[in-house]
């Protein structure tokens, strides 16, 4: 989906978001508020530069606009796969972005992620997935890795993975599966602007995803394991 | 994966009331979880193995193990990823020795 399409749908009251080399930044009116908008488009790979640009934007927002809500627009093919990025320490750039998102949340900025097209793995693990909550459009793709590469690395035949990917929430790439896992809060249809407003109002700092995964049946063990360890129990509560 | 179970009687060596784990579930390796339990004096062993069709070999290794240690009221669980019989016997012995305080 073109970034201009999603921004028009989200911000009927206007915005000044611009795109430069697949990096999105700007602000928009949502209800009575100004919202900071940052993200990527064009299925951008996330390399050191674009990670740093997103981080800088968030830090500027924290410094100059206390409390301003932040929307992270996600469309990425994943982390950039280059020797140079590894040499420079892309994991540090990603971590830095994640820490900036976390700081914003701590300082009272509601932070929402929206996957409006693609989200692969390392491309959104320290942006959308570190927001107060991450949302997705129905036609978006969220996945860890393409099946052929997964087959190569796990040594599980591609046919088997393809079979599982049809209906198994652990492998299937659609946003419904992340919804079931608790990774995605909600899938937005209909009035996107209204849903954005609701999401910003509902943003809360606690990580509820494991509880959601349990309630929705996609991850039945994460929350019970966390609970057992916190409570000092030697077994999961049945 | 293949699941195999064994149960031996006639053992007399009791184990302390604890659980121990030795080994790692990696290629050519296995983990052994050993604990005491009320089994009417028996030694019960459950094996989950990624190497299919070696039932007879496992049986021989387990018989030798029981002859060696004669455990009573012992529960042993194994996750195996293709270890050789020699490595399996080694890990089983390590598990018992760790239980009995010999190896720490």
């Amino acid at each position: 989906m073109d970034w201009t399409t999603i921004t028009s749908a989200l911000f009927p009251n206007g915005h000044d978001v611009v795109e430069r080399e697949l990096f999105l930044s700007g602000s928009a009116r949502v209800g009575e508020k100004t919202v900071a908008v940052v993200g990527t488009t064009g299925h951008s790979p996330i390399g050191v530069e674009i990670a740093l640009l997103q981080a800088r934007f968030i830090l500027q927002t924290v410094r100059e606009h206390p409390g301003r809500p932040i929307l992270i627009l996600v469309d990425t093919v994943g982390q950039r796969l280059r020797h140079r990025d590894e040499m420079l320490g892309i994991n540090s750039y990603m971590a830095h972005l994640g820490k900036c998102v976390e700081l914003a949340r701590r300082q009272g900025h509601p932070v929402i992620g929206l996957v409006y097209d693609q989200a692969l793995s390392g491309g959104f693990i320290t942006s959308g997935l570190l927001a107060d909550a991450c949302y997705a459009l129905p036609d978006s793709t969220i996945r860890v890795m393409g099946l052929p590469a997964m087959a190569r690395i796990t040594k599980v035949p591609e046919e088997r993975l393809t079979e599982l990917a049809v209906s198994n929430p652990v492998f299937a790439p659609g946003p419904e599966n992340y919804l079931r896992m608790g990774g995605v809060q909600e899938i937005w249809t209909g009035d996107l602007a209204a849903q954005l407003e609701e999401a910003l109002a509902a943003a809360a700092p606690q990580d509820e995803r494991a509880a959601l995964g349990l309630a929705r049946g996609g991850r039945k063990f994460a929350q019970p394991v966390i609970d057992a360890i916190v409570a000092g129990r030697d077994a999961l509560a049945s | 994966m293949e699941k195999l179970t064994y149960r031996f009687q006639g053992g007399s060596r009791a184990l302390p009331q604890q659980a121990e784990l030795v080994g790692v579930v990696g290629s050519g390796n296995l983990e052994v979880l050993i604990e005491s339990g009320p089994l009417g004096g028996d030694c019960a062993i459950e094996v989950n193995t990624a190497a299919l069709g070696f039932g007879a070999t496992w049986e021989a290794v387990m018989r030798d193990f029981h002859e060696r240690w004669q455990l009573s009221d012992a529960r042993i669980a194994i996750n195996d990823m293709g270890a050789t019989p020699a490595v399996v016997s080694l890990r089983l012995d390590q598990a018992v020795e760790t239980m009995l305080g010999g190896l720490r």
Binding site: L81, L88, M150, I153 | L33
Partner: protein, 298 residues
Amino acid sequence: MSSYLELTARERLALLFDAGSFEEFLPPKARVISPHLAQLDAPVAFDDGVAVGRARLDGQAVFAAAQEGGFMGGAVGEVHGAKLVGLLKRAVAEKAAAVVLLLESGGVRLHEANAGLVAVSEVMRAVLDARNAGVPVIALIGGANGCFGGMGIVARCTNAVIMSEEARLAMSGPEVIETAAGVEEFDSRDRALVWRTTGGKHRYLLGDCQELVADSVPAFRAAVLATLARLRTQETALTLAALEAEQTMLAQRLERFGGLEEPMQIWTALGIAEPRSLPLLEAGPFVEQVAAYRIGAN
């Protein structure tokens, strides 16, 4: 001198902390195994590849975890990730002096795909929550599998990273890059290049790890003690000032070295007269030699 690299996760816990002090939470006898591996006909581990609990270091109580690189490359699945999250939450509840993470991982466990990705994200949040609650988190990296993927990011979310010269810290492994972009881009069989690019010494020079030690348990133990003492004098939580400083540091790194192709060119740019000699130096002499040149305030 016991090699840290060659030990299992449990052996590292037993030898690094005070003898007999490690008390495990949700131990293997609880048999909390992965719910997803059976459908791929893959074997499980009773601890799902990570041991978490409490231990003492010179009498000081800390919380600790060790990932087992021998099981699924230490990769994080639903249960594994939840154990780390539970540990970090409990550390906050009990006001632990620190959480010490012995990391060895390929990142998200592909066999658990979506569940693994969300799990790693939850670990990241939990590390940052612990820091924000005043609990310092330290990462140790020294296993054969290195620390990659989402866990490579988690490592740089902690207060301090300690690496051995054998260790590697990165995001994507060289094989993945070679498959995606060709052998010209990154020859994964060129071990020397792999270590120059992602190894402990290079990360130490860039300032991405704060201590570089020999591959030995006593060396890691001493480094953890020194790090704990140092962290007591610093802010544990994230602050705007610290992140702005990190922004500047990372921007300068990109500006100075972004046009270079070979890690040794970076070392030269840092002012090191004989970069070729660095890989050959033992940890101690290496640290001494580069002290004046490496980036990075602690």
